[in-house]
């Protein structure tokens, strides 16, 4: 146990320090996990990886269900934007955005409405 205590400022009878790692080894492990979390969040924020790699990173951090919910939710909103014809893109780079927070600072031009054509065979 640490020789000090930190209480929840919104709930004074709750001591955060009660749940802190009790040994040095456990504290080291916690510190490493915290560093991993921070680095992964930076990687996710900096948009340097493909979406499937980002999803795998989220899975490792928060579990399969949380990662699925997060990605399915964004994907659904992305799809709705296409259905509504309000998806936007940036001339020159082609950055796609739709107020999803995926591409900050996008100068928006609306993508013309259309339908992707589909077949399960080469033609």
């Amino acid at each position: 146990m640490p020789d000090f205590e930190i209480r929840n400022p919104r709930c004074n009878h709750e001591k955060f320090t009660d749940r802190w790692p009790k040994t040095d080894a456990a504290r080291d492990r916690f510190a490493k996990e915290l560093a991993t979390l921070e680095l992964t969040l930076i990687r996710l924020r900096d948009n340097t990886e493909t979406l499937d790699l980002k999803r795998n990173a989220l899975r490792k951090l928060f579990g399969e269900a949380a990662a699925n919910i997060a990605f399915d939710s964004v994907n659904k909103r992305f799809g709705q934007r296409g259905d509504l014809g309000t998806l936007a893109y940036s001339l020159g780079t082609g950055a796609i955005g739709s107020n999803l927070g995926v591409v900050p600072g996008l100068r928006e031009t609306t993508v013309p409405k259309h339908r992707f054509y589909g077949s399960d065979q080469d033609v």
């Binding site: 990605f71 296409g82 409405k113 399960d120």
Partner: protein, 170 residues
């Protein structure tokens, strides 16, 4: 988005001078709106551009080919809607579902050719700007592809009709 260089549209442009005007129009538009693209073939019967786009989390190199339609002597090359190929990185199936094809492709073999619009739905016509339709649709396709790779679900407007005659797709 629209352009009207003539009062009427022949079935195929045919006249080599008219075909060149069409190609020059698209080349000028592409240079203005997508300056990172370069023309790699410029002829009376074919214009080809290649360049980078970065729709979401990954850059791609894509190729666009446009045949305006031309007749010279006995040779007739009919008008053809723009074709878009992804040169790099190669379009791939999901690692989790290797037997499931990538959606909305005319040809999955590298370089994959994208199905960007419903060919018989009058969504792209000779008056439409490639720079303002085909390119943003390409970027949208790639963005949806990235989501599909991550989730296995393709969202957004799509059409899955009965197989069409080959000519209708080209």
């Amino acid at each position: 988005m629209t352009w009207d260089p003539w009062d009427t549209r022949p079935k195929d442009i045919d006249d080599p001078r008219a075909a060149r005007r069409v190609s020059r129009y698209h080349t000028r538009e592409m240079a203005e709106k997508w300056p990172n693209f370069r023309v790699t073939i410029e002829s009376a019967w074919l214009t080809r551009w290649e360049g980078p786009v970065e729709p979401l989390a990954q850059p791609y190199l894509v190729r666009i080919e446009f045949v305006p339609g031309v007749r010279t002597g006995n040779i007739h090359i009919p008008f053809r809607s723009p074709r878009v190929y992804v040169l790099d990185p190669a379009i791939r199936r999901r690692a989790e579902e290797p037997n499931t094809r990538v959606p909305h492709l005319y040809n999955e073999k590298h370089p994959a050719r994208l199905c960007l619009f419903f060919p018989t739905g009058h969504e792209w016509g000779w008056r439409d700007s490639i720079a303002e339709t085909i390119l943003p649709w390409t970027c949208e396709w790639l963005a949806r592809y990235e989501f599909w790779l991550a989730t296995g679900k393709w969202t957004g407007p799509a059409e899955h009709p009965e197989p069409l005659e080959d000519n209708a797709l080209r």
